[in-house]
Amino acid sequence: MPRRWSLSIGCVLLLAALLPGLATGSEPREASPATPPTGALARVRASGVLRVAIDATYPPMEFLENGQPVGFDVDLARELARRLGVRAQFIVMDWDGILAGLTSGRYDIILSSMNITPARRQQVDFIEYARMSQVFVTTRGQLIRTEQELAGRGVAVQTNTTSQRWVEQLRQRGVAVREIHPFPGATECFAAVKSGQAEVVVIDEPVGRYFSRLDDTFVITGQALEPEPIGIAINKEDKELTAAIARAFEQLQREGFLKQLSERWFGGELGQAVLPQGFWAFSRQVVIPRVLQGLGVTLQLTLGSGGLGIALGLLVAMARISRRAGVRGVARTYITLFRGTPLLLQLLFIFFALPLIVGVRLGPMAAGLTALSLNAAAYIAEIFRAAIESIDKGQMEAARALGMSHELAMRRVILPQTFRRLIPPLVNELAALSKDTSLVMVIALPEMLYETKQLAGTYLRPEVYAWAAVGYLIIVVALSTLARRLEQRLEARGT
């Protein structure tokens, strides 16, 4: 909520205390605000009028059209009054004095998109009737779905609003927004995006919806976390009135009136601005693209470090069974070191410590690949060694007796025979590796689990986890299918 939020709480309290009558209302003034003490509800019923305060400068929630108040809140107030058996009378107030006017009894309720805050709660009661968040509005063809995707963008915001503050905080949290363009009004923000001066408007949801309905070059493609609740403010002592309005509101909600109203004013329900509703729609539009993006990185890491790990593992295995004691020792030390310490530690060491010790600075991908490969090689070396040692000694002797060198015999006779025995443990190792790749998220490499966590942080929907699980399953199932095919082929060969 721009204006509403940006006002400091202290200021509200001060106004509440000092300026009960300063409101610049342009509406019929009530002659006698302090009516019989029989309670607000009775008074409303008796007078046949529910006095509703609005700050009519906030389309599409409440604004003036040809001098008449219109908007979502205005329609809602009218309907609520009708349910109470009375009619609504609108008192247009300046925002700054609107709360003080309520406590001093100048009107019965405020229905003007007021944020429910702890400070205000101490003064008045609220009936929550909607939730709003910051939405990202951009021109068709662009796709900015999450906070992270604001990185590198030029962002238009309304000056002195929640939106502006929110984007600034986002920047402090490390999202590299390229530029923040503050404009005095919402219209200018949208004009800036249309003309290409900025790429995206970050703005309150209803406003974003309203403008994107007026002009269909604009689309809402994403939203910020945690929508904030807005409520109908009523004086604390008017419990009966509060209860009556709450009941009426619930009824409207049940009857779908609120939905219709949202539809009419924003073209959809608030608080669900962008999220496609169904499992498939949400999955297809939001989750799967991100998970696939992560899957690409995860695959790169798995195949890359798997390949390097196998190559290096073979070398280490050869060293491990070398006839030279020194070479054997080096291999044994390597295996002990990399199997004996956590992969996470190795990853952090390579990424953070190596630059300090030897001045080697690896990017996240290179560091991730290095750590995963070195680690996998230690395990794979032992797999190779076990497989090589399981081959009958007579094979090496027969090969050597034919005049083959040790190396040639290893390459042509021994290793090919290990292939089939290697497949099951290697598939195991690669499957484990594909899941170990998720550790690289600690060095900010956006693999699949990283993307998943980001998505989950934004949407908190179970689909997110489900699709990540599917992603990993795809890798592992593909691996084992491939392995089975290979095994069958080798079996046909009789090895």
């Binding site: 009958d392 002797e397 034919l402 005049g403 083959m404 060198s405 040639l408």
Partner: protein, 262 residues
């Protein structure tokens, strides 16, 4: 028969504390078929394995056509030859094992042509030509494309013989080549060995097949406790052995089915 092709002098071999060969002297002439017999554990197999340097002797020298095996003289001292040299020397000595040791991931022909191609560097076409000729010689031309798992033991051993012959060795060593085979399968292998002998191949044969020894051997060497007990033509060894231990050994083996031990 002309000149010694193999000469062994003072050959000793120990495995740790245990001395398996205790000073063996032996000469084999080109074209000669020498059958080595003796009780289990007398060192017959070890002797063969030393002859192609699968085991390095602890002491003593072996010459192949006058060339010292496994070692060379440098500045008046004997030092080990480079490994590649030993590999080359070994390629001149064919060996057939008790358990065949065919390469299970290669076809019969693949087994035969592997070393000629990889060690001698023959082009595939030439190696196959030789390989097919050898398979024909051992009667297995029609099984050339089979993997060892689909061949009988006798067929596998015949492929193994063809494989060893493919390197055109100067000497063939047979280490109990029929011990793992049923008698009728052993016979087909023995037949091949006999043909080979008739063609003039120099052969050292460790076996329990006394019939083969009697019929094919030019000379029988009796090994006992790591030393040569006696040697001579089969006619002499099998009828009038000079050593009582030879008599005892022969009495034992001739009263049981050949094969199956050691």
């Amino acid at each position: 028969m002309s000149g010694p092709i193999i000469r062994v002098e003072g050959l000793r071999k120990s495995f740790g504390e245990r001395e398996v060969l205790r000073g063996i002297d032996l000469e084999v002439t080109t074209g000669e078929v020498v059958v080595i017999i003796g009780p289990s554990g007398c060192g017959k197999s070890t002797l063969l394995r030393c002859l192609n340097y699968l085991e390095a002797p602890t002491q003593g020298r072996i010459w192949l056509r006058g060339e010292l095996l496994g070692r060379q003289e440098k500045a008046g001292r004997l030092v080990p030859r480079p490994e590649a040299e030993v590999d080359r020397q070994r390629s001149h000595i064919g060996m057939v094992f008790q358990r065949f040791n065919l390469f299970p991931h290669m076809t019969a022909l693949g087994n035969v042509i592997e070393a000629p191609m990889r060690v001698k560097g023959l082009p595939r076409a030439r190696a196959e030509e030789i390989g097919l000729g050898l398979l024909e010689r051992v009667g297995l031309l029609d099984r050339q494309g089979e993997y060892p798992a689909r061949l009988s033991g006798g067929q596998q051993q015949r492929v193994a013989i063809a494989r060893a012959l493919a390197m055109e060795p100067q000497v063939m060593l047979f280490d109990e080549a029929t011990s793992a085979l049923d008698p009728e399968l052993a016979d087909e292998v023995l037949q091949v060995m006999q043909d080979l002998a008739r063609e003039g191949m120099t052969m050292l044969v460790v076996t329990h097949e006394m019939g083969f020894a009697r019929e094919v051997a030019h000379r029988v060497v009796v090994l006992d406790a790591g030393a040569v007990l006696e040697q001579g033509p089969p006619s002499v060894i099998f009828t009038q052995p000079s050593q009582p231990r030879t008599r005892e050994f022969l009495r034992k083996v001739l009263h049981m089915r050949p094969g199956g031990e050691e």
